[in-house]
Amino acid sequence: MGQITLKQVRKSFGDVHVIPGVDLTIEDGEFVVFVGPSGCGKSTLLRLIAGLEDTTSGIIAIDGKDATALPPAKRGLAMVFQSYALYPHMTVRKNIAFPLKMAGMSEAEQASRVERAAKVLNLTNYLDRRPGQLSGGQRQRVAIGRAIVREPAAFLFDEPLSNLDAALRVGMRQEITELHQSLKTTMIYVTHDQVEAMTMADKIVVLNAGRIEQVGSPLELYRNPVNLFVAGFIGSPKMNLIEGAEAAKRDAATIGIRPEHIDIIDGGPWTGTVGLSEHLGSDTFLKVLVDGIGTLNVRASGEVGRQHGDRVSLAPQADKLHRFNKDGRSVK
Protein backbone atom coordinates (compact mmCIF):
# COMPACT_ATOMS: atom_id res chain seq x y z
CA MET A 1 0.00 0.00 0.00
CA GLY A 2 1.20 3.50 -0.62
CA GLN A 3 -1.45 6.17 -0.78
CA ILE A 4 -0.16 9.60 0.17
CA THR A 5 -2.38 12.57 0.91
CA LEU A 6 -1.26 16.15 1.44
CA LYS A 7 -3.73 18.55 3.04
CA GLN A 8 -2.91 22.26 3.03
CA VAL A 9 0.79 21.49 3.46
CA ARG A 10 2.84 24.64 3.95
CA LYS A 11 6.53 25.20 4.36
CA SER A 12 8.28 28.44 5.21
CA PHE A 13 11.92 29.12 5.85
CA GLY A 14 11.72 32.23 8.01
CA ASP A 15 9.76 34.78 5.98
CA VAL A 16 10.14 32.86 2.74
CA HIS A 17 7.08 30.77 1.93
CA VAL A 18 8.50 28.01 -0.21
CA ILE A 19 5.29 26.00 -0.27
CA PRO A 20 2.32 28.31 0.30
CA GLY A 21 -0.22 25.49 0.64
CA VAL A 22 -0.52 22.26 -1.31
CA ASP A 23 -3.38 19.76 -1.54
CA LEU A 24 -2.61 16.57 -3.38
CA THR A 25 -3.57 12.92 -3.38
CA ILE A 26 -1.25 10.27 -4.73
CA GLU A 27 -2.99 6.94 -5.27
CA ASP A 28 -1.46 3.59 -4.41
CA GLY A 29 0.74 2.31 -7.22
CA GLU A 30 0.83 5.56 -9.13
CA PHE A 31 3.94 6.94 -10.78
CA VAL A 32 3.75 10.64 -10.00
CA VAL A 33 6.26 13.14 -11.33
CA PHE A 34 6.79 16.55 -9.74
CA VAL A 35 8.08 18.80 -12.45
CA GLY A 36 8.89 22.48 -12.58
CA PRO A 37 11.73 24.94 -13.03
CA SER A 38 14.52 25.01 -10.44
CA GLY A 39 13.47 26.69 -7.22
CA CYS A 40 9.78 25.84 -7.71
CA GLY A 41 9.67 23.84 -4.48
CA LYS A 42 9.43 20.36 -5.98
CA SER A 43 12.38 18.98 -4.02
CA THR A 44 11.15 20.64 -0.84
CA LEU A 45 7.76 19.02 -1.33
CA LEU A 46 9.43 15.63 -1.73
CA ARG A 47 11.53 16.19 1.38
CA LEU A 48 8.39 17.12 3.31
CA ILE A 49 6.82 13.84 2.27
CA ALA A 50 10.04 12.01 3.21
CA GLY A 51 10.12 13.69 6.61
CA LEU A 52 13.54 15.22 6.03
CA GLU A 53 11.95 18.65 6.45
CA ASP A 54 9.25 19.53 8.98
CA THR A 55 6.04 21.02 7.66
CA THR A 56 5.16 24.51 8.86
CA SER A 57 1.49 23.50 8.86
CA GLY A 58 -0.81 21.01 7.18
CA ILE A 59 -1.16 17.26 7.24
CA ILE A 60 0.72 14.52 5.41
CA ALA A 61 -1.05 11.18 5.58
CA ILE A 62 0.40 7.89 4.39
CA ASP A 63 -2.20 5.16 3.84
CA GLY A 64 -4.72 7.23 5.72
CA LYS A 65 -2.59 7.60 8.84
CA ASP A 66 -1.27 11.00 9.86
CA ALA A 67 2.49 10.90 9.36
CA THR A 68 3.18 14.62 9.69
CA ALA A 69 5.13 14.28 12.92
CA LEU A 70 6.79 10.94 12.20
CA PRO A 71 10.57 10.85 11.69
CA PRO A 72 11.71 9.67 8.21
CA ALA A 73 12.64 6.24 9.51
CA LYS A 74 9.08 5.56 10.66
CA ARG A 75 7.29 6.55 7.47
CA GLY A 76 8.08 3.40 5.51
CA LEU A 77 9.30 5.31 2.48
CA ALA A 78 12.53 4.84 0.56
CA MET A 79 14.43 7.58 -1.20
CA VAL A 80 16.94 7.75 -4.02
CA PHE A 81 19.04 10.90 -3.92
CA GLN A 82 20.51 12.94 -6.74
CA SER A 83 24.03 12.31 -5.45
CA TYR A 84 23.09 8.63 -4.80
CA ALA A 85 24.24 9.16 -1.19
CA LEU A 86 25.80 5.71 -0.93
CA TYR A 87 27.80 4.88 2.18
CA PRO A 88 31.37 5.09 0.87
CA HIS A 89 32.87 2.93 3.62
CA MET A 90 30.54 -0.01 2.99
CA THR A 91 30.55 -2.56 0.19
CA VAL A 92 27.65 -2.64 -2.23
CA ARG A 93 26.29 -5.62 -0.31
CA LYS A 94 26.36 -3.73 2.98
CA ASN A 95 24.92 -0.63 1.38
CA ILE A 96 21.92 -2.52 0.11
CA ALA A 97 21.53 -4.45 3.37
CA PHE A 98 21.74 -1.34 5.55
CA PRO A 99 18.00 -0.59 5.74
CA LEU A 100 17.36 -4.28 6.51
CA LYS A 101 19.95 -4.22 9.26
CA MET A 102 18.30 -1.10 10.69
CA ALA A 103 14.98 -2.94 10.60
CA GLY A 104 16.54 -5.70 12.70
CA MET A 105 16.14 -8.39 10.06
CA SER A 106 18.02 -11.69 10.44
CA GLU A 107 21.34 -12.09 8.61
CA ALA A 108 19.97 -14.88 6.43
CA GLU A 109 16.92 -12.90 5.38
CA GLN A 110 19.14 -9.87 4.69
CA ALA A 111 21.43 -11.94 2.47
CA SER A 112 18.63 -13.46 0.44
CA ARG A 113 16.93 -10.10 -0.10
CA VAL A 114 20.19 -8.48 -1.15
CA GLU A 115 20.84 -11.31 -3.61
CA ARG A 116 17.38 -10.90 -5.08
CA ALA A 117 17.71 -7.13 -5.47
CA ALA A 118 21.19 -7.49 -6.95
CA LYS A 119 19.85 -9.93 -9.52
CA VAL A 120 17.05 -7.59 -10.56
CA LEU A 121 19.51 -4.71 -10.93
CA ASN A 122 22.40 -6.64 -12.51
CA LEU A 123 24.66 -5.96 -9.55
CA THR A 124 25.50 -9.54 -8.57
CA ASN A 125 29.11 -9.23 -9.72
CA TYR A 126 29.68 -5.97 -7.89
CA LEU A 127 28.40 -6.87 -4.43
CA ASP A 128 31.84 -6.86 -2.82
CA ARG A 129 33.01 -3.61 -4.34
CA ARG A 130 32.79 -0.23 -2.74
CA PRO A 131 30.81 2.63 -4.27
CA GLY A 132 34.04 4.40 -5.25
CA GLN A 133 34.86 1.55 -7.62
CA LEU A 134 31.59 1.77 -9.53
CA SER A 135 30.48 3.84 -12.51
CA GLY A 136 27.73 6.43 -12.23
CA GLY A 137 25.06 4.11 -13.61
CA GLN A 138 26.09 1.29 -11.27
CA ARG A 139 26.00 3.63 -8.27
CA GLN A 140 22.53 4.66 -9.31
CA ARG A 141 21.51 1.00 -9.38
CA VAL A 142 22.93 0.45 -5.90
CA ALA A 143 20.93 3.43 -4.65
CA ILE A 144 17.81 1.91 -6.19
CA GLY A 145 18.71 -1.48 -4.76
CA ARG A 146 18.97 0.02 -1.30
CA ALA A 147 15.51 1.48 -1.81
CA ILE A 148 13.77 -1.64 -3.10
CA VAL A 149 15.05 -4.26 -0.61
CA ARG A 150 12.90 -3.02 2.23
CA GLU A 151 9.72 -3.06 0.16
CA PRO A 152 8.64 0.46 1.09
CA ALA A 153 5.15 1.91 0.83
CA ALA A 154 6.48 4.34 -1.76
CA PHE A 155 9.70 5.31 -3.50
CA LEU A 156 10.84 8.91 -3.59
CA PHE A 157 13.28 9.91 -6.34
CA ASP A 158 15.01 13.29 -6.15
CA GLU A 159 16.35 14.07 -9.64
CA PRO A 160 18.06 10.68 -9.73
CA LEU A 161 19.28 10.88 -13.31
CA SER A 162 20.68 14.38 -13.47
CA ASN A 163 24.25 13.27 -12.70
CA LEU A 164 24.30 10.73 -15.55
CA ASP A 165 25.29 11.35 -19.13
CA ALA A 166 22.59 11.60 -21.77
CA ALA A 167 22.79 8.03 -23.14
CA LEU A 168 22.79 6.44 -19.70
CA ARG A 169 19.92 8.65 -18.64
CA VAL A 170 17.64 7.27 -21.33
CA GLY A 171 18.53 3.70 -20.32
CA MET A 172 18.01 4.30 -16.61
CA ARG A 173 14.74 6.08 -17.35
CA GLN A 174 13.44 2.96 -19.00
CA GLU A 175 14.77 0.76 -16.21
CA ILE A 176 12.96 2.79 -13.57
CA THR A 177 9.75 2.67 -15.59
CA GLU A 178 10.06 -1.12 -15.93
CA LEU A 179 10.80 -1.40 -12.23
CA HIS A 180 7.59 0.47 -11.52
CA GLN A 181 5.65 -1.83 -13.81
CA SER A 182 6.98 -4.93 -12.07
CA LEU A 183 6.81 -3.68 -8.47
CA LYS A 184 3.59 -1.69 -8.83
CA THR A 185 4.66 0.41 -5.86
CA THR A 186 3.86 4.12 -5.57
CA MET A 187 6.67 6.25 -6.93
CA ILE A 188 7.15 9.97 -6.59
CA TYR A 189 9.76 11.32 -8.92
CA VAL A 190 11.14 14.85 -8.94
CA THR A 191 12.70 16.28 -12.08
CA HIS A 192 13.12 19.54 -13.93
CA ASP A 193 13.27 17.63 -17.21
CA GLN A 194 9.87 17.62 -18.83
CA VAL A 195 10.88 14.79 -21.16
CA GLU A 196 11.44 12.54 -18.13
CA ALA A 197 8.09 13.68 -16.78
CA MET A 198 6.25 12.97 -20.03
CA THR A 199 7.80 9.57 -20.61
CA MET A 200 7.59 8.12 -17.09
CA ALA A 201 4.58 9.54 -15.33
CA ASP A 202 1.07 8.25 -14.81
CA LYS A 203 0.37 11.63 -13.34
CA ILE A 204 2.36 14.84 -13.63
CA VAL A 205 2.23 17.57 -11.01
CA VAL A 206 3.46 20.84 -12.49
CA LEU A 207 4.80 23.16 -9.81
CA ASN A 208 5.65 26.81 -10.02
CA ALA A 209 6.73 28.98 -7.08
CA GLY A 210 5.57 26.33 -4.62
CA ARG A 211 2.07 26.17 -6.10
CA ILE A 212 0.54 23.34 -8.07
CA GLU A 213 -0.28 24.72 -11.50
CA GLN A 214 -1.90 21.58 -12.88
CA VAL A 215 -2.20 17.87 -12.15
CA GLY A 216 -2.94 15.39 -14.88
CA SER A 217 -1.73 12.64 -17.16
CA PRO A 218 1.07 13.60 -19.57
CA LEU A 219 -1.28 13.77 -22.53
CA GLU A 220 -3.89 15.78 -20.63
CA LEU A 221 -1.25 18.37 -19.83
CA TYR A 222 -0.05 18.31 -23.40
CA ARG A 223 -3.53 18.66 -24.88
CA ASN A 224 -5.19 20.90 -22.33
CA PRO A 225 -2.77 23.05 -20.39
CA VAL A 226 -4.82 25.16 -17.97
CA ASN A 227 -2.57 28.18 -18.16
CA LEU A 228 0.37 29.78 -19.91
CA PHE A 229 2.91 28.36 -17.48
CA VAL A 230 1.95 24.75 -18.11
CA ALA A 231 1.55 25.43 -21.82
CA GLY A 232 5.09 26.78 -21.99
CA PHE A 233 6.60 24.15 -19.74
CA ILE A 234 5.20 20.92 -21.17
CA GLY A 235 6.20 19.98 -24.69
CA SER A 236 9.47 20.11 -26.55
CA PRO A 237 10.21 22.28 -28.42
CA LYS A 238 8.12 24.77 -26.46
CA MET A 239 4.69 25.93 -27.53
CA ASN A 240 4.69 29.15 -29.57
CA LEU A 241 2.88 31.90 -27.69
CA ILE A 242 1.54 34.78 -29.74
CA GLU A 243 0.15 38.04 -28.35
CA GLY A 244 -1.28 41.14 -29.98
CA ALA A 245 -3.47 41.49 -33.03
CA GLU A 246 -3.23 37.85 -34.07
CA ALA A 247 -4.50 36.80 -30.63
CA ALA A 248 -7.16 39.51 -30.53
CA LYS A 249 -8.51 38.21 -33.84
CA ARG A 250 -9.31 34.97 -32.01
CA ASP A 251 -10.77 36.77 -28.99
CA ALA A 252 -7.86 35.99 -26.63
CA ALA A 253 -4.99 37.82 -24.92
CA THR A 254 -2.53 35.13 -25.97
CA ILE A 255 -2.82 32.22 -28.34
CA GLY A 256 -0.58 29.18 -28.26
CA ILE A 257 0.27 26.71 -30.98
CA ARG A 258 2.73 23.85 -30.67
CA PRO A 259 5.52 23.64 -33.28
CA GLU A 260 4.17 20.27 -34.48
CA HIS A 261 0.72 21.77 -35.09
CA ILE A 262 1.86 24.27 -37.68
CA ASP A 263 1.71 22.99 -41.26
CA ILE A 264 3.93 24.26 -44.02
CA ILE A 265 1.50 24.60 -46.92
CA ASP A 266 1.08 27.00 -49.79
CA GLY A 267 -1.50 29.69 -49.22
CA GLY A 268 -1.48 29.51 -45.41
CA PRO A 269 -2.54 32.59 -43.42
CA TRP A 270 1.00 33.27 -42.10
CA THR A 271 4.05 33.92 -44.23
CA GLY A 272 7.62 34.34 -43.08
CA THR A 273 11.31 33.81 -43.68
CA VAL A 274 13.21 30.76 -42.45
CA GLY A 275 15.88 31.83 -39.97
CA LEU A 276 17.35 28.59 -38.73
CA SER A 277 16.69 25.08 -39.96
CA GLU A 278 17.73 21.92 -38.14
CA HIS A 279 17.52 18.71 -40.15
CA LEU A 280 17.42 15.61 -37.98
CA GLY A 281 16.23 13.27 -40.70
CA SER A 282 13.17 12.10 -38.79
CA ASP A 283 12.12 15.69 -38.12
CA THR A 284 12.92 19.15 -39.31
CA PHE A 285 12.89 22.08 -36.93
CA LEU A 286 12.50 25.52 -38.45
CA LYS A 287 12.70 28.92 -36.82
CA VAL A 288 10.53 31.15 -38.97
CA LEU A 289 10.33 34.92 -38.66
CA VAL A 290 6.64 35.39 -39.47
CA ASP A 291 5.54 38.78 -40.78
CA GLY A 292 3.62 40.74 -38.15
CA ILE A 293 3.87 37.99 -35.50
CA GLY A 294 7.50 37.28 -34.71
CA THR A 295 9.59 34.14 -34.51
CA LEU A 296 7.73 30.82 -34.48
CA ASN A 297 9.16 27.34 -34.03
CA VAL A 298 7.86 24.87 -36.53
CA ARG A 299 8.34 21.13 -36.45
CA ALA A 300 7.67 19.11 -39.56
CA SER A 301 8.06 15.39 -39.72
CA GLY A 302 10.50 13.96 -42.21
CA GLU A 303 12.77 16.03 -44.34
CA VAL A 304 11.54 19.42 -45.49
CA GLY A 305 13.67 21.07 -48.12
CA ARG A 306 13.64 24.58 -46.68
CA GLN A 307 16.82 26.49 -45.97
CA HIS A 308 17.88 29.72 -44.32
CA GLY A 309 16.32 32.70 -46.12
CA ASP A 310 13.53 30.76 -47.88
CA ARG A 311 10.03 32.24 -47.81
CA VAL A 312 7.43 29.83 -46.40
CA SER A 313 3.71 29.90 -45.85
CA LEU A 314 2.33 28.44 -42.61
CA ALA A 315 -1.07 27.34 -41.38
CA PRO A 316 -1.87 26.55 -37.72
CA GLN A 317 -4.15 23.55 -37.19
CA ALA A 318 -7.29 25.28 -35.97
CA ASP A 319 -8.36 22.57 -33.52
CA LYS A 320 -4.94 22.53 -31.88
CA LEU A 321 -4.90 26.22 -31.12
CA HIS A 322 -4.89 27.19 -27.42
CA ARG A 323 -6.44 30.44 -26.26
CA PHE A 324 -5.56 32.22 -23.01
CA ASN A 325 -7.18 35.23 -21.35
CA LYS A 326 -5.28 38.19 -19.97
CA ASP A 327 -4.68 36.36 -16.64
CA GLY A 328 -3.00 33.59 -18.55
CA ARG A 329 -5.83 31.10 -17.93
CA SER A 330 -6.90 28.85 -20.74
CA VAL A 331 -10.26 29.60 -22.33
CA LYS A 332 -12.22 27.07 -24.35
Partner: protein, 277 residues
Protein backbone atom coordinates in the same frame (compact mmCIF):
# COMPACT_ATOMS: atom_id res chain seq x y z
CA UNK B 1 53.98 23.94 -15.29
CA UNK B 2 57.53 22.98 -14.63
CA UNK B 3 59.96 25.83 -14.36
CA UNK B 4 63.51 25.59 -15.59
CA UNK B 5 65.89 25.72 -12.62
CA UNK B 6 69.62 25.68 -13.16
CA UNK B 7 71.78 23.18 -11.30
CA UNK B 8 73.62 26.04 -9.61
CA UNK B 9 70.41 27.48 -8.18
CA UNK B 10 69.37 24.03 -7.04
CA UNK B 11 72.67 23.44 -5.29
CA UNK B 12 72.56 26.85 -3.63
CA UNK B 13 68.98 26.33 -2.44
CA UNK B 14 69.82 22.90 -1.10
CA UNK B 15 72.81 24.22 0.83
CA UNK B 16 70.82 27.12 2.33
CA UNK B 17 67.89 24.91 3.26
CA UNK B 18 70.19 22.26 4.70
CA UNK B 19 72.05 24.80 6.80
CA UNK B 20 68.86 26.36 8.16
CA UNK B 21 67.46 22.95 8.92
CA UNK B 22 70.61 21.95 10.74
CA UNK B 23 70.61 25.17 12.79
CA UNK B 24 67.03 24.58 13.87
CA UNK B 25 67.73 20.96 14.73
CA UNK B 26 71.02 21.72 16.48
CA UNK B 27 69.70 22.27 20.05
CA UNK B 28 68.03 18.87 19.96
CA UNK B 29 71.16 17.27 18.55
CA UNK B 30 73.16 18.90 21.35
CA UNK B 31 70.79 17.48 23.97
CA UNK B 32 71.25 14.03 22.46
CA UNK B 33 75.02 14.42 22.59
CA UNK B 34 75.07 15.78 26.15
CA UNK B 35 72.86 12.95 27.36
CA UNK B 36 75.76 10.58 26.70
CA UNK B 37 78.41 12.69 28.47
CA UNK B 38 79.43 12.94 32.12
CA UNK B 39 78.39 16.09 34.01
CA UNK B 40 82.02 17.28 34.02
CA UNK B 41 82.33 16.89 30.26
CA UNK B 42 78.94 18.43 29.59
CA UNK B 43 79.95 21.88 30.85
CA UNK B 44 83.18 22.05 28.88
CA UNK B 45 83.60 24.14 25.73
CA UNK B 46 81.58 22.81 22.79
CA UNK B 47 84.55 21.63 20.76
CA UNK B 48 86.01 19.82 23.76
CA UNK B 49 82.63 18.22 24.36
CA UNK B 50 82.67 16.91 20.83
CA UNK B 51 86.23 15.77 20.44
CA UNK B 52 87.89 15.40 23.83
CA UNK B 53 85.39 13.51 25.95
CA UNK B 54 84.19 9.96 26.24
CA UNK B 55 80.69 8.52 25.96
CA UNK B 56 78.60 7.09 28.77
CA UNK B 57 75.05 5.82 29.39
CA UNK B 58 75.25 6.36 33.14
CA UNK B 59 72.95 9.38 33.01
CA UNK B 60 69.95 7.29 32.05
CA UNK B 61 70.34 4.85 34.91
CA UNK B 62 71.02 7.70 37.35
CA UNK B 63 67.91 9.51 36.22
CA UNK B 64 65.78 6.36 36.52
CA UNK B 65 67.21 5.66 39.99
CA UNK B 66 66.67 9.19 41.24
CA UNK B 67 63.21 9.87 39.87
CA UNK B 68 61.06 6.97 38.82
CA UNK B 69 60.79 7.40 35.01
CA UNK B 70 58.12 4.76 34.54
CA UNK B 71 55.79 6.32 37.08
CA UNK B 72 55.96 9.65 35.23
CA UNK B 73 55.63 7.88 31.91
CA UNK B 74 52.47 6.09 32.97
CA UNK B 75 51.08 9.36 34.33
CA UNK B 76 51.73 10.98 30.96
CA UNK B 77 50.05 8.14 29.12
CA UNK B 78 46.98 8.16 31.36
CA UNK B 79 46.59 11.92 31.29
CA UNK B 80 47.10 12.43 27.56
CA UNK B 81 45.00 9.42 26.46
CA UNK B 82 42.36 10.06 29.08
CA UNK B 83 41.93 13.73 28.28
CA UNK B 84 41.76 13.02 24.54
CA UNK B 85 39.19 10.24 24.84
CA UNK B 86 37.08 12.18 27.31
CA UNK B 87 37.29 15.14 24.95
CA UNK B 88 36.07 12.99 22.04
CA UNK B 89 33.03 11.83 23.97
CA UNK B 90 31.99 15.45 24.43
CA UNK B 91 33.25 16.77 21.09
CA UNK B 92 31.70 14.24 18.68
CA UNK B 93 28.08 15.08 19.57
CA UNK B 94 28.94 18.79 19.82
CA UNK B 95 30.64 18.88 16.42
CA UNK B 96 27.82 16.76 14.94
CA UNK B 97 25.15 19.21 16.01
CA UNK B 98 27.14 22.23 14.88
CA UNK B 99 28.00 20.71 11.51
CA UNK B 100 24.64 19.18 10.61
CA UNK B 101 21.99 21.15 12.48
CA UNK B 102 23.54 24.59 12.75
CA UNK B 103 21.54 27.32 14.44
CA UNK B 104 21.75 31.05 13.98
CA UNK B 105 24.50 31.44 16.57
CA UNK B 106 26.54 28.32 15.81
CA UNK B 107 29.38 30.30 14.24
CA UNK B 108 29.45 32.61 17.26
CA UNK B 109 29.62 29.66 19.64
CA UNK B 110 32.52 28.21 17.65
CA UNK B 111 34.36 31.53 17.73
CA UNK B 112 33.69 31.88 21.42
CA UNK B 113 35.18 28.43 22.04
CA UNK B 114 38.23 29.31 20.03
CA UNK B 115 38.58 32.61 21.88
CA UNK B 116 39.25 30.70 25.09
CA UNK B 117 42.47 29.54 23.45
CA UNK B 118 43.51 33.16 22.94
CA UNK B 119 43.56 33.82 26.67
CA UNK B 120 46.87 33.18 28.43
CA UNK B 121 46.41 30.19 30.74
CA UNK B 122 48.16 31.98 33.56
CA UNK B 123 45.19 34.35 33.62
CA UNK B 124 43.02 31.65 35.13
CA UNK B 125 45.68 29.92 37.17
CA UNK B 126 44.54 31.36 40.49
CA UNK B 127 40.84 30.42 40.23
CA UNK B 128 41.62 26.96 38.88
CA UNK B 129 44.28 26.38 41.50
CA UNK B 130 41.85 27.38 44.25
CA UNK B 131 39.10 25.20 42.85
CA UNK B 132 41.51 22.27 42.67
CA UNK B 133 42.75 22.89 46.18
CA UNK B 134 39.26 23.07 47.65
CA UNK B 135 38.02 19.99 45.80
CA UNK B 136 41.10 17.97 46.56
CA UNK B 137 42.06 17.60 42.92
CA UNK B 138 45.57 18.98 43.28
CA UNK B 139 48.21 16.47 42.25
CA UNK B 140 45.61 13.96 41.02
CA UNK B 141 45.65 12.33 37.60
CA UNK B 142 41.90 12.75 37.40
CA UNK B 143 42.07 16.51 37.96
CA UNK B 144 44.85 16.93 35.43
CA UNK B 145 42.96 14.84 32.86
CA UNK B 146 39.95 17.13 33.27
CA UNK B 147 41.99 20.30 32.91
CA UNK B 148 43.87 19.11 29.82
CA UNK B 149 40.62 17.89 28.29
CA UNK B 150 39.04 21.29 28.86
CA UNK B 151 41.91 23.31 27.42
CA UNK B 152 42.10 21.11 24.31
CA UNK B 153 38.34 20.72 23.86
CA UNK B 154 38.01 23.78 21.57
CA UNK B 155 40.64 22.32 19.25
CA UNK B 156 39.04 18.89 19.25
CA UNK B 157 35.62 20.34 18.46
CA UNK B 158 36.99 22.62 15.75
CA UNK B 159 38.88 19.82 14.06
CA UNK B 160 35.95 17.42 14.16
CA UNK B 161 33.58 20.16 13.02
CA UNK B 162 35.79 20.75 9.98
CA UNK B 163 35.88 17.03 9.12
CA UNK B 164 32.16 16.54 9.67
CA UNK B 165 31.42 19.47 7.39
CA UNK B 166 33.12 17.56 4.58
CA UNK B 167 30.62 14.71 4.88
CA UNK B 168 27.69 15.26 2.52
CA UNK B 169 24.45 15.79 4.41
CA UNK B 170 22.58 13.64 1.89
CA UNK B 171 24.40 10.53 3.13
CA UNK B 172 23.13 11.14 6.65
CA UNK B 173 19.66 11.82 5.27
CA UNK B 174 19.88 8.55 3.36
CA UNK B 175 20.67 6.80 6.64
CA UNK B 176 17.61 8.42 8.21
CA UNK B 177 15.47 7.27 5.29
CA UNK B 178 16.94 3.79 5.70
CA UNK B 179 15.59 3.64 9.20
CA UNK B 180 18.60 4.73 11.24
CA UNK B 181 17.95 6.65 14.44
CA UNK B 182 20.37 9.28 15.70
CA UNK B 183 22.49 6.69 17.51
CA UNK B 184 22.77 4.40 14.48
CA UNK B 185 23.42 7.35 12.20
CA UNK B 186 26.40 8.47 14.29
CA UNK B 187 27.64 4.94 14.98
CA UNK B 188 27.31 3.26 11.56
CA UNK B 189 27.54 6.12 9.09
CA UNK B 190 29.08 9.30 10.44
CA UNK B 191 31.87 7.90 12.60
CA UNK B 192 33.26 5.40 10.07
CA UNK B 193 33.29 8.12 7.42
CA UNK B 194 35.03 10.51 9.78
CA UNK B 195 37.63 7.98 10.96
CA UNK B 196 40.60 9.66 9.22
CA UNK B 197 39.61 12.97 10.76
CA UNK B 198 38.95 11.51 14.18
CA UNK B 199 42.27 9.65 14.08
CA UNK B 200 44.29 12.75 13.35
CA UNK B 201 42.36 14.69 15.97
CA UNK B 202 43.23 12.01 18.50
CA UNK B 203 46.89 11.95 17.50
CA UNK B 204 47.29 15.72 17.59
CA UNK B 205 45.58 16.00 20.94
CA UNK B 206 47.64 13.23 22.49
CA UNK B 207 50.72 15.14 21.39
CA UNK B 208 49.39 18.44 22.74
CA UNK B 209 48.41 16.87 26.04
CA UNK B 210 51.70 14.98 26.32
CA UNK B 211 53.70 18.17 25.86
CA UNK B 212 51.51 20.41 27.98
CA UNK B 213 53.70 21.89 30.70
CA UNK B 214 51.97 24.87 32.26
CA UNK B 215 49.12 23.08 34.00
CA UNK B 216 50.99 19.87 34.63
CA UNK B 217 53.75 21.78 36.44
CA UNK B 218 51.41 23.99 38.42
CA UNK B 219 48.84 21.47 39.52
CA UNK B 220 51.01 18.46 40.38
CA UNK B 221 53.65 17.70 42.96
CA UNK B 222 54.74 14.08 43.07
CA UNK B 223 51.89 11.64 42.66
CA UNK B 224 50.36 12.74 39.37
CA UNK B 225 53.41 14.39 37.82
CA UNK B 226 53.86 13.46 34.15
CA UNK B 227 57.07 13.55 32.10
CA UNK B 228 57.05 17.33 31.72
CA UNK B 229 57.41 17.64 35.47
CA UNK B 230 60.03 14.91 35.35
CA UNK B 231 62.20 17.02 33.00
CA UNK B 232 61.58 20.19 34.95
CA UNK B 233 62.76 18.59 38.16
CA UNK B 234 66.27 18.49 36.71
CA UNK B 235 66.48 22.24 36.15
CA UNK B 236 67.47 25.12 38.40
CA UNK B 237 66.36 24.20 41.95
CA UNK B 238 69.09 21.59 42.28
CA UNK B 239 71.60 23.44 40.14
CA UNK B 240 71.92 22.71 36.47
CA UNK B 241 72.84 19.14 35.67
CA UNK B 242 73.14 19.41 31.91
CA UNK B 243 73.85 15.80 31.20
CA UNK B 244 71.07 14.43 33.40
CA UNK B 245 68.67 17.07 32.20
CA UNK B 246 69.45 16.07 28.63
CA UNK B 247 69.00 12.40 29.39
CA UNK B 248 65.66 13.12 31.09
CA UNK B 249 64.53 15.23 28.14
CA UNK B 250 65.30 12.47 25.68
CA UNK B 251 63.51 9.92 27.79
CA UNK B 252 60.48 12.22 27.98
CA UNK B 253 60.18 13.17 24.34
CA UNK B 254 61.20 9.85 22.78
CA UNK B 255 57.82 8.10 23.15
CA UNK B 256 55.85 10.92 21.58
CA UNK B 257 58.43 11.40 18.83
CA UNK B 258 58.24 7.73 17.97
CA UNK B 259 54.46 7.83 17.96
CA UNK B 260 54.51 10.95 15.78
CA UNK B 261 56.95 9.31 13.39
CA UNK B 262 54.80 6.24 12.88
CA UNK B 263 51.59 8.21 12.55
CA UNK B 264 52.89 11.06 10.40
CA UNK B 265 51.11 9.81 7.31
CA UNK B 266 47.81 9.73 9.17
CA UNK B 267 48.48 13.14 10.72
CA UNK B 268 49.22 14.82 7.42
CA UNK B 269 46.29 13.12 5.73
CA UNK B 270 43.99 14.20 8.53
CA UNK B 271 45.24 17.76 8.69
CA UNK B 272 44.93 18.30 4.94
CA UNK B 273 41.62 16.42 4.76
CA UNK B 274 39.27 18.11 2.34
CA UNK B 275 41.89 20.58 1.18
CA UNK B 276 42.30 18.72 -2.09
CA UNK B 277 39.25 17.19 -3.69
Amino acid sequence: MARAVSTRTKTLNTVIAGTLGFLIFFPILWIIILAFKTEEDAIRAPLEVLFQSGWTTDNFSTVQARSDYFKHFSNSVIISLGSTLLGLVIAIPAAWSMAFVPAKRTKDVLMWMLSTKMMPPVGVLVPIYLIFRDTGLLDSRFGLTIVLMLINLPIIIWMLYTYFREIPGEILEAARMDGAGLKEEILYVLTPMAVPGIASTVLLNIILAWNEAFWTLNLTAAKAAPLTAFIASYSSPEGLFYAKLSAASIMAIAPILIMGWFSQKQLVRGLTFGAVK
